[in-house]
Symmetry: C2
């Protein structure tokens, strides 16, 4: 129900109005070859189909080229990024551009084509930038974050399918874990709104998903510890994994943090990529 | 993990230094006759015993008179109120007054004597005033709330034991409910920090405890609906019940709300008391 964007890897979608009705994928530029061309199953085209529907179907005929820059199944929100990019681009071509709430709903529908459910936790920050609440209904809500707050994210070169990663969350959660998670969220929000690193440090933990998903990520414990040893306010799994992130009180801390996290992944023979940027990251834009 | 104080019913504890070692209850002024005089089992004395321990046991000898103003088993945090009042009064008599974090830990230990677990959700707001995060460790954290935000609370004249009310929460919670609750908390926090009634309205719901506890409270559905019909931003069970509260955007709305909520309780033959006050309520004080 919460996520943030960051500068680094990104998807790009080229949307063109055509005379032919419907929404088509004309090209997919991706190192992996398995993304679907079926408009109903590709996140980008599925999102545009929904946008056209929500905009009362007046505009018809879109051709999409999808250029993937975010690695698949990395926990970096790639499927949402394509959906958001497509929606933002298509919206700029509509005769009646739609409100944020409509763009959000459309992109969530696209996301569902990939992940099986219309979760907005990646869609909302891609759409609005920065740290954003992703509600089940209504418009997303931006949360201000201090400008010194930086994320360090390390993506190991292995894959973890969102569906598999979500399956381990199927068993229900005991009340004490739920309460602890709510407490952490409350402290993190207070830390963000008050610009207080100590509150962020007290609250930035995950007792629900992390313990269940960590065994799916080789070296996770060592990577997390590496981040914390470098002063991370907290560190956990990015999305469904296998990427791991830390939040740091400065860019310098984050730079040191990702170097150490990459070493820890190397210790289990995993090469990796690293990204550092403000938690108040960018949003999808027409370029 | 979160609670707020409000002006209205309150407990008062008179603490006196004595030459005799230990902590004694000398009097309990309460309409119900069942509160224990055993220092280990009474929340007020148990809290002071813990305070003395945490303050290194230098000061010994306290006599406590407990004047209960908050009805027992009402969901209004009465056991925490006694514990906090006792700790605040005893602290004023210590040769080395203790920090907030120590007072909080001591009062939580007192609360545990009554409820079976050291939950701080009533202790923290009684101790600090207003809306307060009650963490499992460390000092509580105040959350600013808009001054127009008022609570209307109605206490029906029936009792619901905290232990019974907690028992219905024993079964674990599915992920979608947990996510919905986290989303609500995020929206409420943003509403408080931004002073935005619309965000409060979007987030002020309880999908975890309320559905399980509502059947224990006669007329709950009608009372909640009465509050919402009078413009409540949200309404739910106070503590473990049977009291029901609503948050309102003005004192006038809250006054209308509680009148309507009392009528709804009357519809199931329950008399009730009503309280209205700012969500930014008072804290325990030495008088």
């Amino acid at each position: 129900m919460l996520g943030h964007s960051f500068a680094g890897a990104h998807d790009r979608v080229v949307v063109t109005r055509t005379d032919q009705a419907g929404v088509r994928i004309t090209a997919i530029d991706c190192l992996d070859a398995e993304l679907p061309f079926d408009p109903e199953r590709n996140t980008a085209s599925r999102a545009v189909l929904e946008l056209v529907l929500l905009a009362n179907g007046e505009d018809q005929g879109f051709a999409l080229e999808v250029h993937k820059g975010i690695p698949l199944a990395s926990g970096m929100g790639g499927s949402a990024a394509s959906a958001v990019a497509a929606v933002v681009a298509a919206n700029a071509l509509l005769s009646t551009p739609q409100e944020m709430e409509v763009l959000y709903a459309a992109a969530c529908t696209g996301e569902a084509a990939a992940s099986g459910a219309p979760h907005g936790d990646n869609v909302a920050p891609s759409l609005m930038g920065g740290l954003v609440i992703a509600p089940r209904r209504g418009a997303p809500v931006r949360v201000p974050v201090p400008d010194w707050l930086h994320v360090g994210l390390v993506h190991p070169h292995c894959r973890l399918e969102t569906r598999e990663s979500r399956a381990v969350l199927a068993a229900p959660f005991p009340l004490d874990q739920v309460t602890a998670q709510l407490e952490g969220l409350a402290l993190v929000f207070s830390g963000c709104y008050q610009g207080d690193a100590e509150l962020l440090k007290r609250g930035l933990y995950d007792v629900l998903a992390e313990p269940r998903r960590a065994p799916l990520i080789p070296g996770f414990d060592a990577v997390k510890e590496a981040a914390l040893d470098c002063g991370a306010l907290g560190a956990s799994i990015s999305g469904g994994g296998p990427s791991v992130f830390g939040w740091f009180a400065s860019r310098a801390d984050a730079e040191r943090g990702v170097a150490s996290m990459q070493s820890a992944f190397a210790g289990v023979s995993l090469a990796s990529d690293a990204y550092v940027g403000p938690v108040a990251g960018p949003k999808a834009e027409v370029i």
